[in-house]
């Protein structure tokens, strides 16, 4: 709850900055506020007395899971604001952008900590509405307009299905409170009614849309490539982490026993995500579309943790995977943003041609990030995939592990397409790309995080 209050007040402060004209101060203030939020979170982290959800009238709970994901989301948000410092340099829209992002962060916090379906719905909406707007924040670009309209229409449809699912579950259980649902479904005299089943399937469909898992992925490439690069990187990291955490939380709190009954649904989601994501990505020439399809394939891996919920390491694997994936994606999008701004907004793969000569630091970071996404050993992406597959193997899904490995082998091909372009092709424009001190230090920091995060298991064992 503290996190929500801190970030929501920062958002309101940002709006006040527009009125009382202290715009120059607001960006450092927001960065300081987000950092303070992380410090408060770390200080409270080890407190034995997590407040339970009775204090918030059974709406939000600060258990270890929520705490860990809130910390992760806060750190992603802080790094994102620093990475996209110049997204806020435009004076006319600075406060709007900042306020929308801060409100979206509040939504993300609600999504990882809810104990009530009402809060799940509100969290998803609070996260989505700023995203619909920000996707269209490049108002002069036709593709940005297309992205925002597509995202809005499809997103509101998915929300409708989510609400329908919640209603049907309420109809068969009689409560919005997740632990009531769990208690009712676990009791002996509970027979699964068709109404309950349809409710759960609708919830799964809506959440699969929000994490952009494969049969529900059609919006993702268009929205990712149409939105401004800064917003795309927020969608690919923060929104995806929050959505997958909410999806997982649905099953650990409300229906822990139900996952076995719905495992066929998850087989389809996982296999489709892995193959559609990886195979269509091979044919992409636009770097943002390529990263969008790659993010769909990563969702396939993340959903393995939901499928193997009864394994002891499933939460740990999911947390580690989202951490590794988010920082890797932040690094990749930072490089893409700098390079494409240097090529006057072009985000074709050819902008990476000859990057190793133009700026070795950018090329190095991009290489590390892509290798990590592909799952090459000493990097964090490898450990993330290894944990997931090891857990699935323990659960007895050998065939699924083989499929996942085959699919990610396809992934290696298209990640290497960019690496080859950077190191062997010659660029038409051979001037060096200048970097600011902030950008340099962020690139080095993200590179270090990607390399070292998997070496000892502290992130893995945090949750």
């Amino acid at each position: 709850m503290n996190e929500i209050i801190i970030v929501a007040s920062l958002g309101i402060l940002t709006l006040l900055a527009e009125i009382f004209n202290f715009k120059k101060l607001i960006l450092p203030l927001v960065v300081a506020g987000l950092a303070a939020n992380i410090v408060v979170g770390i200080m409270e982290f080890d407190l034995a007395s997590y407040y339970n959800d009775a204090d918030t009238l059974r709406m939000i709970e600060s258990d270890l899971y929520a705490k860990c994901f809130m910390m992760l989301l806060s750190i992603i948000a802080l790094v994102w604001v620093l990475v996209n410092y110049n997204f806020f340099s435009d004076e006319t829209n600075q406060t709007d952008h900042l306020a929308l992002i801060l409100f979206a962060i509040v939504g993300g916090f609600c999504m990882v900590a809810y104990t009530n379906f009402v809060m799940l719905f509100l969290g998803i909406e609070i996260l989505s509405i700023p995203m619909y707007v920000l996707a269209g924040s490049n108002k002069r670009s036709l593709r940005s307009n297309e992205a925002t309209l597509k995202y809005f229409l499809m997103g509101s449809f998915a929300t409708g299905i989510l609400l329908f699912g919640i209603t049907l579950i309420y109809g068969s259980i009689g409560s919005f409170y997740v632990y009531d649902v769990r208690m009712k479904t676990a009791s002996v005299d509970f027979t699964i009614t068709p109404m309950f089943t349809i409710g759960v399937v609708m919830l799964i469909a809506a959440m699969a849309f929000k994490v952009s898992s494969a049969p529900f992925h059609f919006w993702a490439p268009d929205v990712y490539s149409g939105s401004p690069t800064s917003v795309t990187s927020f969608m690919a990291t923060f929104v995806k982490t929050a959505a997958i955490a909410a999806f997982m939380r649905l099953f650990i709190t409300a229906f822990p026993t139900a996952i076995e009954s719905y495992k066929n649904v998850f087989f389809i989601l996982i296999i489709a995500s892995l193959f559609i994501g990886n195979i269509i990505a091979v044919f992409q020439t636009n770097a943002k579309r390529l990263l969008a399809y790659s993010s769909i394939s990563h969702v396939g891996f993340m959903l393995l943790a939901l499928l193997c919920l009864s394994e002891a390491t499933s939460l740990k694997s999911l947390f580690f995977y989202t951490t590794a994936y988010s920082f890797t994606t932040l690094a990749a999008f930072l490089v893409l943003k700098i390079v494409s701004e240097n090529a006057s907004g072009d985000d074709d793969i050819s902008v990476f041609n000859g990057l190793a000569q133009r700026n070795p630091l950018l090329a190095g970071t991009m290489t590390i990030a892509l290798l990590s996404m592909a799952g090459i050993p000493p990097l964090s992406g490898f450990f993330a995939k290894y944990n997931m597959l090891f857990m699935a193997l323990n659960h007895g899904y050998l065939w699924l592990v083989i499929i996942a490995i085959l699919a990610s082998l396809v992934g290696v091909y298209y990640y290497f397409k960019i690496i080859i372009a950077m190191f062997t092709r010659n660029s038409t424009d051979s001037t060096a790309i200048p970097l600011s001190l902030l950008q340099k230090s962020l690139l080095v920091l993200l590179m270090l995080i990607i390399i070292t995060i998997g070496w000892n298991g502290w992130v893995f064992n945090l949750i």
Binding site: L57, T92, G107, M119, I129, G136, T193, M195, I198
Partner: protein, 166 residues
């Protein structure tokens, strides 16, 4: 007895007008039939003793949203039949998907056992006072959090509609 007749009348009106919304050729007629559907639904709320909900339903849907609809239809001049023809495959796919979903829902409805219906006594369950007690009692946190939602929607609307002045 009279409530029962009212119920059947309202249900018939709602379903009949909802069908007309889909089948009318003229978008303006569709919008007008939608208003009738909203009023019939609001009538159901009144029958369920939820006066506040019924009134809000009429004000928000039939009032604000429908006016917006008609305004957009008139402004964009959608009266002309310029809607692009969708391909047959999409039409068939949409019909099959919608049909399957409808079938599943109807099948589920058949299997659903209704719990015992508790007769609501005259305890004013739909009155504003009760609603306020719930909103500021059990649902305090979502009520407060939803302010963030409305604030962000408001900021978003202003942001999208304002001109970029350099």
């Amino acid at each position: 007895m009279i409530t029962q007749y009212l119920f059947y009348f309202l249900t018939f009106t709602a379903i009949f007008c909802a069908l007309l919304v889909v089948f009318s050729k003229n978008p303006i007629y569709s919008a007008l039939y939608l208003i009738v559907t909203f009023f019939a639904t609001a009538g159901h709320y009144f029958l369920l003793n939820a006066q506040f909900l019924g009134a809000v339903h009429v004000i928000v849907y039939a009032g604000a949203i429908m006016v917006l609809f008609i305004y957009v239809i008139m402004m964009l001049n959608l009266n002309k039949e310029v809607e692009p023809h969708k391909s047959n495959i999409i039409k068939i796919a949409a019909t099959v998907c919608g049909g399957i979903l409808g079938l599943v829902l109807i099948a589920a409805l058949r299997e659903t056992e209704l719990g015992e219906i508790t007769e609501y006594s005259n305890n004013g369950i739909g009155l504003i006072e009760k609603l306020g007690n719930v909103l500021f009692g059990a649902y305090m946190v979502p009520f407060e959090i939803s302010t963030v939602l409305f604030l962000s929607a408001m900021v978003g609307a202003v942001f999208l509609s304002k001109k970029n002045i350099h």
